[in-house]
C-alpha cells in the first residue's frame, strides 16, 4: 500500500527499504536534503499521497515530533492516519491523538524495537490506538515485523504502543545490567579464566540464552575484556519513564532503576552524594578526604 515516511535516518531509512522490498509504495521526506528524500517538504509529501493517506512519523521524540504532528494536523484531511513510530512518551500520544481527532484524523502510536538489525531481522512492533485504525495500517506492520507469529501486537488504546515499548526498554535495561553484573563479578574473580568465553557458552542450553547474549559474543569477539569500551553509559528516557510510571502505579522496579542509576552515576549523578558521605566521615572519624590518600586506603 501507499504511505508517507517522515524521517529517513538510521531507523526510518531502513524501514523504508524493508517496506519497498515488501511491495509498498513509500514516499519519503526528511529535513536533510542529503537523506535521499523523494519530496522536499511536508506539503509535497501530503500532496503526493492519495487520500485516505497514511503518514508515518519517525523523528526524534519531543519537540521534533510535536512540531511534525502539529503540521500534519494542518495539512491532512479527515480520514487520514498519522503513525508515530518514534520514542515518544506515552502521555504525549493522548495529546497528539486528541488534537488530530478534532480534525477527523486517526492516530496510532507504534513502539519499534530491533535497532540496526531490524532491516534484516524484522522489527518488533507494539501498537496503540483504535481497532479500525490499526486494521487499516496492518499491512504495513505485517511487512515490517519479523517472519512468524511474533513481533507484532496491538497493545492497547492510544499510548499503549509507546507504553509497551517503554516497558520493553526498561526490561532491556534490567537484562543488560544483569549480564553486566555477572560479567563484572567474573572479571574480578580468580575462579573464571575467560569471562567472555563463559558467557558465550550460555548461548545454547542455558536459562539465560537470549539475543542480548548473542550480541555479547559479537561485542567481545575482538575485545574479550571490553578494554576499549568506556565505563560510562547514557540513558535515553524510556527506563526513566517506566520507573516513574511504576512509582505512580505502586509497583517497585528496583532492577530497572538500578540499571538506570548505574548509568546516571557514570555521568556524575552521584557525585554530591559521595561528597556528603566523605565529608561526614571526615567529621566524625578523622578519615582522609584527599583523593590521593583515598586511593591508598
Amino acid at each position: 500500500m501507499q504511505m508517507g515516511m517522515i524521517g529517513l535516518g538510521r531507523m526510518g531509512g531502513n524501514m523504508v527499504k524493508r517496506l519497498r522490498e515488501g511491495g509498498h509504495e513509500i514516499v519519503g521526506f526528511d529535513m536533510n536534503p542529503e537523506s535521499g528524500r523523494d519530496v522536499d517538504s511536508l506539503e509535497a509529501l501530503v500532496a503526493s499521497l492519495a487520500a485516505p493517506r497514511i503518514v508515518w512519523v519517525m523523528v526524534p521524540a519531543g519537540a521534533a515530533t510535536d512540531s511534525t504532528v502539529n503540521q500534519l494536523g494542518e495539512l491532512l484531511e479527515a480520514g487520514d492516519i498519522v503513525v508515530d513510530g518514534g520514542n515518544s512518551k506515552y502521555t504525549d500520544d493522548r495529546i497528539h491523538a486528541a488534537a488530530l481527532a478534532d480534525k477527523g484524523i486517526g492516530f496510532l502510536d507504534c513502539g519499534v524495537s530491533g535497532g540496526v538489525w531490524g532491516a534484516e531481522r524484522g522489527y518488533a512492533l507494539m501498537i496503540g490506538g483504535e481497532d479500525a485504525t490499526y486494521e487499516t495500517v496492518k499491512p504495513i506492520f505485517e511487512t515490517l515485523k519479523p517472519e512468524g507469529e511474533y513481533g507484532l501486537v496491538h497493545a492497547g488504546p492510544v499510548g499503549g504502543g509507546h507504553f509497551a515499548k517503554m516497558v520493553h526498554n526498561g526490561i532491556e535495561y534490567g537484562m543488560m545490567q544483569a549480564f553486566g553484573e555477572g560479567f563484572a563479578t567474573m572479571m574480578r574473580s580468580e575462579y573464571v579464566t575467560n569471562p567472555a568465553q563463559t558467557m558465550d557458552s550460555w548461548r545454547s542450553g542455558s536459562v539465560v540464552a537470549s539475543w542480548l547474549l548473542d550480541l555479547f559474543e559479537n561485542a567481545t569477539a575482538d575485545d574479550p575484556e571490553l578494554k576499549d569500551v568506556p565505563a560510562v553509559a547514557n540513558e535515553s528516557g524510556e527506563a526513566r519513564w517506566m520507573v516513574e510510571a511504576a512509582l505512580e502505579l505502586g509497583v517497585p522496579t528496583p532492577a530497572t532503576a538500578a540499571a538506570l542509576w548505574q548509568r546516571q552515576t557514570s555521568r556524575g549523578g552521584a557525585d554530591d552524594i559521595l561528597r556528603t558521605v566523605t565529608a561526614l566521615r571526615a567529621q566524625f572519624g578523622g578519615h582522609v578526604t584527599k583523593v590521593d590518600e583515598i586511593a591508598t586506603h
Copy 2:
C-alpha cells in the same frame, strides 16, 4: 565411555538417559530403592566400574555432597575422577578437590543449567578443574551439552565451574526480575490491554527475545494474568552467594540483589523493617498503625 552416576532424581535421571542415548555405559546409584538404580550401594557402584573410574555426583549441595565426596575418597583409587555436578558453593570445591588430591583422585566441578528441558534441549555445562582431568571426562560433557558450538566451557580452575554457574543463576534472577517488573507495570496500567500477549510478541525481533520469554508464553498460556500463581518465591542460594562474592570483590550487584531481596521479602524477611517504619511513623505523625485502617489509607 563408562561412568558412575550418584543421584537419580529429576536432574540425574534425565542426564543418565541422555548419556545412554549417546552411547555411554552408565551405572546409576541412588539412596532411594525406587529410583531405578543399577546398584544398591556406593561400594557396589565403585566395584562395578573399571579403573580409572569416573563418578559423577548429582546430589543436593551441602551435607549430602560433602558426605558422598568423603565416602568416594575412601572407596576410589589414585587416577579415578570425581565430578560434582550439583549446586555446590564454589568454596566447597577447593576443599573437596584438596581432600581427593591427597589420594591422587582427580576432581572437576560442573555447573549444570537447563532444568527439566535439558534432557531434550541439552544441558549448558560449566567446568572447573585441571586441563588433563577435563579432557578425560570431555566425551561425557560433549554428549550432555546441546548440539552446536555453545553450551560447554572449561571455565577455570577448581571452583570455576560452580562459580560460573553461580553467576549464571544470578543473571537468571536479574532477568526474571526485569521481566517481572515489566509485566507488573503493564498489569496495573490502563494502557496495555493484555500484558502477557504483549510480552509474547517480543519473542521475535525485539532486543529482549530470550528463552525465558519463550517460557513465559508457556507459563501464561492458560493463565494470562498468572492469577493461579502465588505471589511468593523461594531462593536457592546461588544468587545470594553471587552477591556475597561480588561484595567481597568490590563489585556492586544491585539488580541481582533486588531480585533476591524481593523473594526474601515475600517470605517475611522485611517484616521487622516495616514494623520499625510503621512504629516510628505512629510516634512522630500520629499515623494509624492498625492493619484495617492502613488498608484504607
Copy 3:
C-alpha cells in the same frame, strides 16, 4: 500579628494554639463545625481580617488545597498573602502563585515538619517565595519554629519550601529504612539478645544518635519486638515525588527508593513480579508453585 488559619485538624489546630500562645491574633476556619472554628465560612474569615491580610492554608494537598486557593483568589485583594502550609507538590506551588499573582496576591509555600510533637517542640519550617513576602510573614514563622538558631529557612523561590520538605521527607524515609534494616538484622540473629535495648543505647555518644532513635525508644518501650505493629506501611507521596524529581535531575536515590518500594511491596505492589518469577521457575525447573509447598521449601 493577625492571621487567618484554614484547616484546624491535628496540625492546624496545634499551630493555632502555639501562635496564640506567642501573642498572635488567629482567626480559625474549618469545614467541620465541630472543629472549634471562629468563623463558619471563607467569606467570614476574609471579612474578619484587616487588610493587608495573611491567610494560612492547612488542608490536604491536591483537590482541597487547589479549591481553597482558588476561592481565596476570588475573595482576597491585592496586597494580601496566602501561605500554603500543607504537603502540596512543589509543582503545584507555581500554578497557585501565578494564579494569585494575577490579582496582586502574594504567595508563600511552607513545608512543615515536626508532626504531633511540634506543638511543644516547635515546627521546622521551610519557605519558598519572594523575599518581601517572606519578611512580611516572618513573625508568624518565628513563633512556630523551635527556639534557637535552627528550624526556619527561606529555602528558595516559589516551590522551594515544598521542594525542601519533599527532600526532607525522602531523607526521613531513608533514615527509617536504615534503622529498620539494622533492627531486623539483629532480630534474626543469635548474637544480639535485645535489639531494642541495643538501639536505645545509641542515643548518646554514637554516630547514629538522632531524634528518630529517641522516638524508637518510645515505640519499643512496651513492645520491644514490635509484635503488635503490622508489617505493612503506607506512603504519603513526598518520597515518591523526590525519587521522580531526582530521576529527572539525573541523581540516583537508591536508599530513598528502597524505603518507598518496601512500603509499596508491603501493600502488594510486587505481587505480579513474584508471580512472574515463580511461574518462570516452575517452567524451567519444575519448581513447586503451590503456596503450602513453598512454605516448606
Copy 4:
C-alpha cells in the same frame, strides 16, 4: 581500676586520656616508640599489671588483632580478661574467645562508636561476652561512655558487641546515604537556593534532626557546596559484613547496600558493568561508544 591498653593511635590514645581523667590507672603499649607508650613490649605490659589483669586491645582488625590476641594468650594467666575494642568481625570473636577460654582467660568484644569526638562526648559502647566478665570490666566502660543513661549496652554473648557495632555502622552508612541523596537532589534543582543552609535548618524541630546533621553543618561551614571534597568514598568493612550477615538471615538490606555500592562504584567497581551495557547498546543500536561523544549525548 588498673588496665593495660594496647594500641595508642587516635582512638586508643584518646580513650586512655578519658580513662585516666576518670581515675583509672592505665598502662599503655604501642608498637610505635613515638606513641607515648609506658612500656616497650607486650611482656612488659603484662608484667606491669597486677593479676587478675584486664588488657584492652585497640589495634586494626584482622591480622594485627589476631596476632595480639594470640600473644596475649601466651602471656596472660587464668582469670585475666582480654577486651577487643577494635573493629573485628563478629565471627572472629568466637575464635578468639575459644582460644583464650582454653587457658581460662576471659574475653569481651567491644564495639566503640564516637570517632574523634568520643574523647570529649564519650564513646558509645556495645559489649559481647559473659555476664561475670562484663561486670568485672564495667567500671572501665562506665568511664568511657557518655554521661547519662545511654551509650553502654551488654548486647549479647561473645560476638554480640561487634555484631551490634557492625549493624550500627550499617545504619550509619544508610543515614549518610539518605542525607547525601537529599543534598544532591537539592544541589541540582533550581528550587532550593542554598541546600546546605536548608539542611542546617533541620537541626531543630524536624524529624531528621541528628548528630550527623550537626556534623554536616561543620562540614559545610566553609564549603557549602562541598566543592573541595572528592566524589569518591571508601568502605571499611562493617556495612559489607552486615549486608552479608543479613543475606544469610534472609533479611533484605537495600538501603545499607545502596550506600555501600555507591562507594564501591566510586572506586571503579561498576566499570565492567558499564562497559557491558555500552558495548551491548553499540551492538543493537549503533549507539556511540567513544567517551567524547558520550559526553555530548
